[in-house]
């Protein structure tokens, strides 16, 4: 029944467009009235359904006409009409003057001057201390286990009852280059603190959507090679700094034979962490008859070897969101912040900071 109705509707619309102009006017009036303002539930539902249906039909029509135009253009050998780019939040982002430009002299000088430059220039080998908050159980330790396998040269230390400032001191003496603190709330890791040593900065992230390795379907097991690092979309000055902070956790000389890649992908200020293994395989595929005709008329049954890359996810999957970036090492009371998230910044959906 429903299907039949749907089919009938567009036909009906097409058949009598000029028939009743008055009714159409009424319709428009109703549309401006907004179905949600109608008090009778039955009527409201009916009107709402109608509006929805009309919208869908219109959309279908548009798509159809677009496809037709494309087809016609191809048939006539003309240039097909340009594919319109959908408007997304990313490409309508508020213009930001802090976005780094590749020809910015000052940026490079600032890079050379910052706290990470000696690690990124491979003058120092990163050595990471991982610890937790005071109470830690359930998924916390499991997460740390996996993090230890992701980050080379990372060492787990029990938190005990030490203050974080003393741990910073200790790590400085032992020549660690960064500290990662995993904060757990209600037996669920919910925050991540990355402290760069010896003198800052400290980044505080909210951690969410944590999926451990064993919960990922068809997961792989990572090798102990030094991973490659992919940092995506850290565009602004702040993003650049956070990117460098993350970069300084990993060794700068990846072992490419290991085919292991760690990704930090920033999208709308959320940093997505993924850990993959990849493999390049030569796959034999049958060549399509159309292609074969153009290439060579002889061998119709020729197969073509094609290189394909296959990915296998291994290792935790989580999302980070920056809460604050502090100047210097951890100091909750007397700290100076380079950037703090404040509620008054959230006045627009199209403003991003990383």
């Amino acid at each position: 029944m429903a299907d039949r109705k749907r089919k009938r509707e567009p036909a009906g619309d097409g058949a009598k467009p000029e028939e009743e102009k008055g009714s159409r006017d009424n319709k428009e009036k109703k549309r401006t009235l907004l179905p949600s303002l109608i008090k009778n539930k039955v009527k409201r539902m009916a009107v709402h359904a109608k509006v929805k249906r009309e919208k869908r039909i219109e959309k279908k029509k548009k798509a159809k006409s677009r496809a037709d135009a494309h087809k016609r253009a191809l048939e006539l050998g003309e240039e097909p009409p340009p594919v319109s780019i959908p408007r997304t939040i990313e490409n309508t982002r508020e213009p930001d003057e802090t976005v780094c430009k590749p020809d910015d002299e000052e940026l490079f000088v600032g890079n050379d001057a910052d706290e990470f430059s000696n690690i990124l220039k491979q003058e120092r080998i990163p050595k990471i201390l991982i610890t937790t908050c005071r109470f830690n159980s359930s998924r916390g330790p499991a997460f740390i286990q996996e993090l230890l396998s992701v980050i080379p040269n990372a060492h787990y230390f029990k938190r005990g009852t030490y203050e974080l400032k003393r741990i910073v001191e200790y790590a400085n003496n032992k020549e660690f280059t960064s500290i990662i603190v995993i904060h757990t709330n209600r037996r669920e890791p919910d925050a991540l603190l990355i402290i760069n040593l010896p003198d800052g900065p400290t980044a505080h992230f909210k951690l969410s959507k944590l999926v451990l390795r064993k919960d990922i379907k068809n997961h792989g097991n990572p090798t102990s090679h030094k991973p490659e690092l992919v940092l995506n979309n850290f565009t602004t000055r702040l993003g650049h700094r956070v990117g460098r902070l993350i970069q300084s956790l990993f060794p700068q000389d990846p072992f490419f034979r290991g085919r292991r890649v760690v990704t930090f992908h920033n999208q709308r200020d959320f940093i997505f962490f993924r850990h993959h293994r990849y493999v390049f395989e030569s796959k034999e595929t049958k060549v399509d008859s159309n292609d074969a005709k153009t290439k060579s008329a002889k061998g119709k049954n020729l197969t073509q070897t094609k290189m394909i890359a296959r990915l296998q996810e291994c290792g935790p999957r989580f999302t980070l969101k920056l809460i604050s970036l502090q100047h210097g090492t951890f100091d909750s009371k007397g700290g100076e912040f380079e950037w703090v998230h404040k509620p008054e910044m959230d006045t627009s959906r199209r403003r991003f900071f990383l």
Partner: protein, 460 residues
């Protein structure tokens, strides 16, 4: 609906600001049109991390203005704030550590004296410098010779501000007779600059009702009014703003808590009772120090620690900058954001060049071309053309400003009249503002009575 970050600028007259940052650059911003937004017009110095600026001071005079910049590598550099030429350099080590210490001590405070402009002819400039270890020194430097580096004259007078702890803030009062120092483990202390002797030391407030004693840690301090050295406003690391009165007691007369993050900078207003404070997480607020009331916050998506605030002496404009690498201009009265400029580096200080007006630019454009030629040909004569220019054009500018100035002064006097009324109510406060009472005398009080009532209402 998306709100854009650009604020409609109500417009403010031409002004010029200088900022320093952590890679050792000095950037000059100017508003050139009658109503416009500030733009970076000049950048001085090669960017280099070791030349990071830790303290800066501007002697803002009509003639022979001077900019002093203390760098991380232990050099104090003197620049001409008009064209950025280096005039002299002094090593911190030579002047401060007469004893056997070998390490570089970072400079905590640097102040050029002679702001009053009483010595227009001399090329001798006095300055006060203090390192974090508490060694202060007062010395003078000759400026204007072509060869920078070989130009100190007298033996500096040095003294130790404190035995232990580290000095974080210092300030010099308007008449340049007194200086104050404070820091981590260092109570606010006032020194007489002529005698080089300690005039006064604060006492830490008693422990609170729970018996908890908060350790001394001053992060910012300033004299409350230009004429008076007896009122001191100080900010502490445990988010307090304190008012000290030398003539009254050694403990703070008033202390106000403000939010949760440490106060990083305190700047006084012209009226002698308002202070602007900036905190470690980017809050900017103004306080009335007579009553200890929060006048209001400056709201504008400021997310990084504020390192420096500058108040324009004539216009109701303040400039703030900090670790979020934005320079912001605010209306001091309405607390509205006027404009922001992104300057790419962590900024350490901002200064306003007040003897600047739009007319100067037209006259300045040609000399600057000239100067460029000079630069290539004769290095020694470099300083001459801009100075001549500055003398003539700046005077013009000043005359023009005078009318404006007098108007504003009248306004301030009115405000001061208000003071009288409000201060009489409490005996303590009356004590606090002797400087303003002097000012009040020439004005007739009777005519303005009704006005007072109005303004008083607005304050209350």
């Amino acid at each position: 609906m998306p709100r854009t970050t650009t604020v409609e600028c109500p417009g403010y007259p031409p002004l010029r600001a200088l900022t320093t940052d952590v890679v050792g650059l000095v950037k000059v911003l100017e508003v050139r049109e009658k109503v416009g937004t500030p733009k970076v017009v000049e950048t001085w110095g090669p960017p280099d991390a070791s030349r990071s600026v830790v303290a800066a001071s501007l002697a803002d005079r009509k003639t022979n203005p001077l900019l002093a910049v203390a760098r991380k590598n232990g050099l104090v550099e003197f620049l001409n704030p008009l064209n950025g030429n280096s005039l002299a350099t002094v090593k911190v080590k030579d002047s401060v550590s007469s004893s056997n210490s070998t390490e570089d001590e970072p400079v905590a405070g640097l102040h050029l004296l002679g702001m009053k402009g009483t010595e227009p002819s001399s090329k001798l400039n006095k300055f006060l410098m203090c390192t974090t270890k508490g060694k202060a020194c007062l010395r003078s430097v000759t400026v204007g010779d072509a060869s920078p580096g070989s130009s100190h004259v007298d033996s500096p007078s040095t003294w130790n501000v404190c035995g232990a702890g580290s000095v974080l803030c210092s300030s010099v009062d308007g008449n340049e007779n007194f200086a104050l120092f404070g820091g981590k483990g260092v109570e606010v202390n006032v020194w007489d600059l002529e005698k080089c002797s300690k005039a006064w030391t604060a006492k830490s407030p008693p422990s609170n009702s729970l018996g908890i004693f908060s350790p001394t840690w001053f992060t910012a301090a300033t004299f409350l009014s230009k004429e008076d050295h007896r009122k001191i406003a100080a900010g502490t690391n445990n988010h307090q703003v304190r008012l000290y009165d030398i003539s009254a007691q050694r403990r703070p007369v008033l202390s106000i808590n403000f939010r949760e993050s440490p106060v990083k900078v305190v700047t006084e207003d012209l009226d002698g009772y308002t202070v602007y404070i900036g905190t470690g997480c980017g809050d900017l607020a103004s306080f009335d120090m007579r009553t200890g009331k929060l006048l209001g916050c400056f709201v504008g998506k400021c997310s990084g620690s504020i390192r420096s605030i500058a108040r324009h002496p004539r216009l109701p404009i303040i400039a703030s900058c900090g670790l979020d690498s934005y320079l912001r201009f605010w209306d001091a009265k309405t607390r509205q954001l006027l404009s922001t400029v992104f300057l790419k580096q962590h900024l350490t200080s901002v200064m306003l060049d007040t003897h600047f007006s739009a007319e100067e630019i037209e006259s300045a454009d040609q000399p600057s071309d000239l100067q460029a030629n000079d630069h290539s040909e004769v290095e020694n004569d470099e300083e001459l053309p801009p100075k001549v220019r500055s003398k003539t054009s700046r005077k013009k500018a000043h005359n023009k400003n005078k009318a404006d100035k007098s108007k504003r002064e009248a306004q301030y006097d009115e405000l001061r009249d208000e003071d009288e009324q409000t201060t009489i109510e409490s005996a303590d406060d009356d004590d606090e503002l002797p400087a303003t009472t002097k000012r009040r005398k020439p004005l007739g009080g009777n005519e303005k009575r009704p006005k007072h009532k109005k303004s008083k209402k607005s304050i209350g």
